[in-house]
């Protein structure tokens, strides 16, 4: 996969490069038989489309064909040096009290992970293991028969190398949060393709934290991740995702979530890292009376580009969803928020609301907000709104007149602004974690 593309890359060049890359590494990828066939089909699906570009509606604001100038070689399995660099950053990335499952350069790192004393009802294995030795049931979850049409998901399917498969059995209420930490140790530029699975059984309860970080000095890398989640009926999942990748990294991640009847899914994403990132979440209401809150914050500066795309599918009646999204943009930062809510003809009594706001700290920053409602049922309560603005000068002056230097006054107001999204995190600990991450960004701003 050591293919640097010429500046004149076209769809065919990119696809060909990836096709060759796939051929080169397919022997190293886990799974044979049905898995290998699925990989092949996915690669073909990807090749038909190539990297998404601005004429692909869903990727309109994030043109990977222009941005991804080269396809990086698949990361080598981490050696000892990589593991020790990863261990150093793990100290600050690990959330106290949580169970850490660590992926270094896309490969599960047992020595950095904690699989000791698994609580009753919790089972964890690696993706590699699941693809190589898992039964049809787990394979079907990892490789859903109804494949997404998204080319980057197809690419992930073709290339996925490792990840974790977490199963929580019916009725299990886990006291300890689970944290999946993706660490790029990269001394040399590389690509990682990970996929993880979380199955929350009926009436079960769990907290999942996902972190994306880089070891000190990690070079430009590409993190491609997918997370497949099913939340059983009457189950509850609290989820926080913190993307704090290196400033020259790419992060292309997808979450597929199916929420069962009477289940509650509360999720928050923070994008504060990466040169270019896309987090796309596809959430489907699989059972009635489910409740979903998806909240997000993008904090971007320099020339960072962060795309958060949410797709909420109210496929059944009586579902409730809330989306609160905030972006804070400095320098030439560019944030994209796309939120599409579909209310299918059967989904009567759906209650869906989406609100997105962007705060521009510089004249050159840019926010693209695209909330969309597609409603095919008639008895629903739905609404959305979007605003973009600057910091209120009169509030800033009030704070400064009380002694706060400009940056500190801004920081207070910015924290209050993103707090509107963080507030919607139900779990107190998770809220503190999100606040902490936002403060890290503010502190780094100076």
């Amino acid at each position: 996969m050591n293919v640097a593309l010429a500046k004149t890359d076209t769809k065919t060049d990119t696809s060909r490069a990836l096709g060759e890359a796939f051929a080169n590494v397919r022997e190293r990828l886990p799974g044979t038989g049905a898995v290998a066939e699925a990989r092949q089909r996915a690669l073909e699906a990807f090749e038909r489309q190539g990297l998404p570009h601005r004429r692909v509606e869903d990727w309109k604001y994030t043109d990977l064909r222009t941005a991804m100038r080269e396809v990086l070689p698949l990361a080598a399995a981490p050696d000892e040096a990589a593991a020790s660099r990863a261990a150093a950053i793990l100290k600050s990335a690990a959330v106290k009290g949580a169970r850490q499952l660590v992926l270094v350069d896309g490969v599960y790192a047992p020595q950095l992970s904690n699989l000791g004393k698994l609580e009753k009802g919790l089972a964890v294995r690696t993706l590699r293991d699941a693809l190589e030795t898992g039964g049809e049931a787990v394979r079907n979850q990892l490789l859903p028969p109804k494949q997404s049409a998204d080319p980057m998901v197809a690419l992930n399917t073709a290339m996925m190398t490792d990840g974790v498969v977490i199963e929580i059995s019916e009725g299990a209420e886990l006291a300890q949060a689970i944290q999946i930490i993706h660490i790029a140790s990269g001394a040399s530029p590389a690509a990682m393709f990970t996929r993880s699975l979380l199955r929350v059984g009926n009436k079960a309860k769990v907290t999942l934290i996902e972190s994306f970080v880089a070891a000190e000095g990690a070079k430009s890398y590409q993190a491609h991740d997918a997370l497949v989640v099913s939340v059983g009926s009457h189950a509850r999942l609290d989820h926080v995702r913190l993307m704090e990748d290196a400033r020259d990294a790419f992060n292309i991640s997808t979450a597929f979530v199916t929420v069962g009847a009477h289940a509650h899914f509360n999720t928050f994403n923070l994008t504060a890292g990466g040169q270019l990132s896309r987090y796309q979440a596809f959430v489907t209401f699989g059972g009635e009376h489910a409740r979903v809150e998806t909240n997000g914050v993008n904090l971007l500066n320099g020339t960072q580009h962060g795309d958060t795309t949410l797709f909420l599918d109210h496929a059944v009646p009586n579902g409730a969803s809330r989306e609160v999204f905030r972006a804070v943009l400095d320098d030439r930062g560019h944030s994209v928020f796309q939120g599409r809510i579909i209310v299918r003809p059967d989904a009567q009594k759906t209650d869906a609301k989406m609100m997105t706001r962007a705060l521009l700290l510089s004249d050159e920053a840019e926010a693209d907000n695209k909330p969309e409602l597609e409603i095919f049922a008639d008895d629903v309560t739905c609404g959305h709104g979007a605003t973009t603005g600057a910091l209120d000068q009169s509030l800033l002056f009030y704070l400064r007149a009380r002694g706060l230097p400009e940056k500190e006054a801004q920081a207070l107001l910015i924290e209050a602004f993103v707090g509107e999204a963080i507030e919607s995190i139900v779990d107190d600990d998770l809220r503190d974690i999100a606040v902490g991450a936002a403060r890290r960004w503010l502190a780094a701003r100076g």
Partner: protein, 251 residues
């Protein structure tokens, strides 16, 4: 003795329009000055220029604070050096908890002065004492800064900050507007408690009544961007009777 504040022939424009046309005012430590004058005469403009609000163009004159050029300083620098403005219209800041704001602001001022930060327990104790003396309930402090406060509560919150920050120069812009009679007395007591030989106050008001509580050493009448008359506290009583019409020509 050095003057605390010297405003000399100050000329200020806002959006191409001159609002202050050569205003002169000297305030010494320990003094209380009242500024009265009709709506639109430039009282708040003066207070904003002293506090350092953007959007005012000083086209002439100077403002010295303890002998230093105040207009050269950032607003936060002025605050740290002891300049405090109790706003006529305090803003609401949703999402910023009052306690966090007070603590951050106080520590920012101390840091700028090279003093040690105040620790949380000491800070809490201090805020509680001050709040109690001003009849400010604790739950008000738990809300966002001024969020959902009544007009009177906002004014009391300004006095609370003044007591907490212990500034050398206090400018009170219509602290009496929106206060009921009892609240006015409590707020005035709070202000009086801060009177000292090192501290000066500039009290902007429309009503002589406030000056019964906060008795000024000097009263100035502002009209059309200038001080047109100065005198002792009896000048306020005179104004109460005769209004401002007599100054129209003088201005």
């Amino acid at each position: 003795m050095n003057a605390l504040l010297e405003v000399k022939n100050l000329q200020v424009r806002v959006e191409e329009r001159e609002i202050l046309h050569g205003l002169t005012l000297t305030v010494n430590p320990g003094e209380v000055h009242a500024i009265m004058g009709p709506n639109g005469s430039g009282k708040s403009t003066l207070s904003h220029v002293i506090a350092g609000k953007a959007g005012y163009e000083v086209t002439g004159g100077e403002v010295l604070y303890k002998g230093e050029d105040l207009l050269e300083m950032d607003p936060n620098e002025r605050a740290a050096k002891g300049v405090f403005l109790a706003f006529q219209y305090p803003v609401e800041i949703p999402g910023v908890a009052t306690m966090n704001f007070l603590h951050t602001a106080l520590n920012a001022q101390r840091k700028a002065r090279g003093e040690k930060e105040i620790l949380t327990p000491d800070f809490l104790k201090k805020v509680r004492e001050v709040a109690k003396s001003l009849n400010i309930p604790q739950d008000m402090l738990k809300r966002g800064v001024n969020v959902g406060f009544s007009g009177g509560e906002k004014k009391r919150n300004e006095i609370l900050q003044m007591a907490l920050f212990e500034p050398a120069l206090c400018i009170l812009d219509e602290m009496d507007s929106g206060l009921d009679i009892d609240a006015l007395r409590v707020a005035a007591d709070g202000v009086n408690a801060l009177r000292s030989k090192d501290r000066a106050m500039v009290v902007i008001t429309h009503y002589q009544r406030l000056l019964n509580y906060i008795v000024p050493d000097f009263v100035h009448v502002m009209s059309k961007g200038r001080v047109v008359k100065s005198g002792g506290k009896e000048l306020a009583l005179e104004l109460e009777k005769s209004g401002y019409a007599q100054f129209d020509d003088a201005a």
